[in-house]
Symmetry: D2
Subunit: 348 residues, 4 copies
Amino acid sequence: MLIVMKQDASHEQIAAVVKVIEALGYEARPMGGRSRTAVGIVGNDGAVDPGRFVGMAGVREAVPVSQPYKQVSREWKDDRTVVELPGGARIGDGSVTVIAGPCAVESREQILEIAQILRDMGASALRGGAYKPRTSPYAFQGLGEEGLEFLAEAREATGLPIVTEALEPGLVELVADYADVLQVGARNMQNYPLLRAVGRSKKPVLLKRGMSATIQELLLAAEYVLAEGNPNVILCERGVRGFDSASRNILDLTAIPAVKSRTHLPIMADPSHGTGLRTMVVPMSLAAIAAGADGLIVEVHQDPPSARSDGMQSLFPVQFRELMERAGTIASAEGRSLTPAPETSARI
Amino acid sequence: MLIVMKQDASHEQIAAVVKVIEALGYEARPMGGRSRTAVGIVGNDGAVDPGRFVGMAGVREAVPVSQPYKQVSREWKDDRTVVELPGGARIGDGSVTVIAGPCAVESREQILEIAQILRDMGASALRGGAYKPRTSPYAFQGLGEEGLEFLAEAREATGLPIVTEALEPGLVELVADYADVLQVGARNMQNYPLLRAVGRSKKPVLLKRGMSATIQELLLAAEYVLAEGNPNVILCERGVRGFDSASRNILDLTAIPAVKSRTHLPIMADPSHGTGLRTMVVPMSLAAIAAGADGLIVEVHQDPPSARSDGMQSLFPVQFRELMERAGTIASAEGRSLTPAPETSARI
Amino acid sequence: MLIVMKQDASHEQIAAVVKVIEALGYEARPMGGRSRTAVGIVGNDGAVDPGRFVGMAGVREAVPVSQPYKQVSREWKDDRTVVELPGGARIGDGSVTVIAGPCAVESREQILEIAQILRDMGASALRGGAYKPRTSPYAFQGLGEEGLEFLAEAREATGLPIVTEALEPGLVELVADYADVLQVGARNMQNYPLLRAVGRSKKPVLLKRGMSATIQELLLAAEYVLAEGNPNVILCERGVRGFDSASRNILDLTAIPAVKSRTHLPIMADPSHGTGLRTMVVPMSLAAIAAGADGLIVEVHQDPPSARSDGMQSLFPVQFRELMERAGTIASAEGRSLTPAPETSARI
Amino acid sequence: MLIVMKQDASHEQIAAVVKVIEALGYEARPMGGRSRTAVGIVGNDGAVDPGRFVGMAGVREAVPVSQPYKQVSREWKDDRTVVELPGGARIGDGSVTVIAGPCAVESREQILEIAQILRDMGASALRGGAYKPRTSPYAFQGLGEEGLEFLAEAREATGLPIVTEALEPGLVELVADYADVLQVGARNMQNYPLLRAVGRSKKPVLLKRGMSATIQELLLAAEYVLAEGNPNVILCERGVRGFDSASRNILDLTAIPAVKSRTHLPIMADPSHGTGLRTMVVPMSLAAIAAGADGLIVEVHQDPPSARSDGMQSLFPVQFRELMERAGTIASAEGRSLTPAPETSARI
């Protein structure tokens, strides 16, 4: 439930509402909006009687939140969440943010080289896995902390903020020491201890939709992060499991408007995993932007055929350049623009 | 197999190839391309030895067609198929063709009124079902031939060519007497007698992808039509069955590049059935265009809440106007344009 | 709606109810049950007021049918439907009926030989396609009417009733002249003109679930047949489209209890199409029986590797013998038995 | 690759093979079989030349393992793995093992009462979640360590070994201190750090198939556990995500024969999560046994309507009694029997 205060409600009146909520055994979360304050009741509040609040001084109304998710809902917060990255990129502000990079950090040279290429072509952030979740235990599992160090070096050199995956709760702090955005992969969308751990971090979280997760399940996963106090979640559609080998997955772009109508959080698309085929990445990127996505996360490698993972779906740099040009054109057709590349001076 | 002739091959040399094919018990299909002729072997030709043709006078090469589909493949025909409609619309020529109209023809007044509205807003063709496949036997099944007459009247009044569904082989001729394009619905994608019947018609065919059909199955369904001699097939992605009730179906836009890389036939998208929700139709229409679709088929009703079928997914006219404007902008961002509305003088 | 009469209701009282229904513009369908008569209102009767019937002489109650399907529902008819075949097999009476045979009739010799083998091993009916729906237009499409004649000859020789597929409305009468059961295949589950045509036939109908059809859609497809006056429908689970190439389809046995709780119609399982792999047919057959299926329809070929279609999923005769033995054991564990093979004297 | 030794190979010959493998930079894993020893090469051994081993003293052959999984494959180990539980149950020895219990441990009284009921009705082990993965952060998350203590007490009282879920790597040791079998849930099937952690434990692992995991992905997840040195993995089919709300999931019994043909590990079925509906649990349990499952894991609650989670799919005790009776009958029809309940004296 959300207790919406009157515009001119006083601090004392808000505090009184908080007190009642806590007396009922729930947690109160006061939130200041553009024009008014609301106090959310966190927890499974099905049994709370709205009548308890209506009539209290300064209370305009008590709004039951009809969805199982609360803090991620548009009922709870009407303003769109904008996630800011070091360097100035603002994800969710209407611009189209492009995060690009290799599937995995393979070596110092590789990540430094590709980061520079992507920086020059206009990417807003650098992706790259240091810890890789791999279907087979015998596949390359990433460079680990050394990979994080190379990523940090690439940031130092290019100013690009770093997006990289955290695979387990125990490593979240370490990854957060290096990363600007913590990625939670599709396989971990319902790894609740991990969600709680990134929820306790101060870094923004890029949360990918699970292989066959419903929109509601995705939003509830995000709710885990917000419930721990981290409001900076970027959702990401990355393809759902389909029945046709013509593509690795079905990039479900209906998720974009479905998510936007339910939550204030931004949503990006990952056309690389969403299709699994290099030739589909550009058209599906453009489609995602046209559908309203707040940005893209795209795999690019300086030499895809020799990539240690996901080579089939990684773009050649020249294809990424084409993507950026066409993405810019599509965005401006809709009155939007690509998020500007970071100021070099903006690096940490 | 495809026997590709040299550029300067003579009629006699082509005839000799045809003769050999027929002597082997297969059907030969000579096809003139932009710069050369090729002779296709129709039928299950797995056992034919290419060596039989290599070395014949005028023969450049014998190309095995690696896919189970043949005539629809890009190996068979390199030029993109352009389907022309009365009034001048050319589907597949690079422009974006918008077919619009109600789910079902409900009355003379209804179809005449909406046709005029759509004509004024720039639609290229009018859709409307006279025979409706309905999940329940007790649901409205369409007006039948009377509906076809109303459609013809709407064409007379507006110049818009008519796209309407044929449900069974025995009615194809009747429907073709009125329609400009014969629609085969998703439920009938593998109704082979119907595919053969529309294949024997002279009218273009709009073939919708089945609920859980693979791209290969869709192309093989089209092959049935071409194998009967009708080359004018427009494919249509209309959503596949998903697991999430957030949308009625998943509009699978990966099908657009997947189809385009395999066949010379044009492909449209149906965001109305593909999402089932009015609010998703505009974003998914724009996404389909950005993904490369040759056009859209969209449900519009003058009063969706009172529509006899599919009201939830039908646009209000004012939304269709917005769609056309934004579709035009997206198309031009990609160097394309909306197919112009038909010349009034072009009506039959 | 269903108007349930009192046990001692007179013919006049029933006639009076029928008259009221017809006066309201609906069709009335009186049905005698074991102990009482009920009169169903066919058509979309959402607006009919039950109060119109309550209080009429002889009326016990007016039961709204809550599902979109009516005549197939257990609310409409409580007794389980038993479909009788020539030769005495009764599908749905608690016994386990095994229909077996090749995918397609390939020649007179082939079908006569396999029919005799299956008869000797205890099959209750013979399946075999004369008209084959094939994904590719270049694949073997069946022998057509000649195939039907061979099937009839096999019936003559063995006493086994014939189950064969009708592909289009125009051929239903011809197929019904030869067949004892008309099969409607998965691809045609929503081919409504075909459903209506078999609904007008006097022969029982084996209706297969579509590739991605919900249980409700399956029941509504059956409703089309019943609505035309044919009460003898046997449903058949044949696998739904899955995402894993480990099997061709997922034989969805949850459909068996789901169907049984909703309808009085019998339901069989097709483990051949349901798995696509010979090695899975026996375990999944046993599983289907244990789940409560009223029988099996299984592909058997005297020489599967040389079968013209579906060889991968056809059993060798020796495997079919094993299946029959183990099926009998599982059935008797549940207090059931295999349907006895037909009396030879019972042939037509 | 697997280096298969001759029957009379000496220890020295085996040691020589191990030395060569290690010299090549791989890990060698010698495995004694019934009649011969084989030495497996663990790791991505694609580049190893079999010729390096052929011809060495005592080597019979070098078998490339064709699947991406190795140690779980039947090529690697031909004998079926039998997992023994305290109390004597042997999962995978041909008997049908029934694990039963509530979704979650709710209180000391609840778990002690239901454990006794299940013990008396013949269950072989007790399930119950102390740590619950819940879609919503506001749903009951389990009693944690206190729940583990209650489970241990229930084991003390009944002799039933305990099966309970571990949710994160950091808690595996704690859970293993109490549990006899560590469950890895469907949402965590690809939580690789967790798989590694249970792989380092000495306790058997019950690994559930993910919501839309292929059989190959399931086997590769098991490979993670074996690769860490824990050979005692029990696989579990628990339903895949479907498109029909008639059941919560599709219990995919084709997985049973598919798994059995590929691996030596035992596989159970979870008809409770697999269907989500109490009324389907008994028929699908019987079907799973008939399909060849090594056992069942079933949710039972003394009062399902008041269960704190999964009440819809939990059996009443009286239904569980019926299940056990019918399961026993089906098992014996196949020459199998239910795993006997544990000796009371066998408790720890």
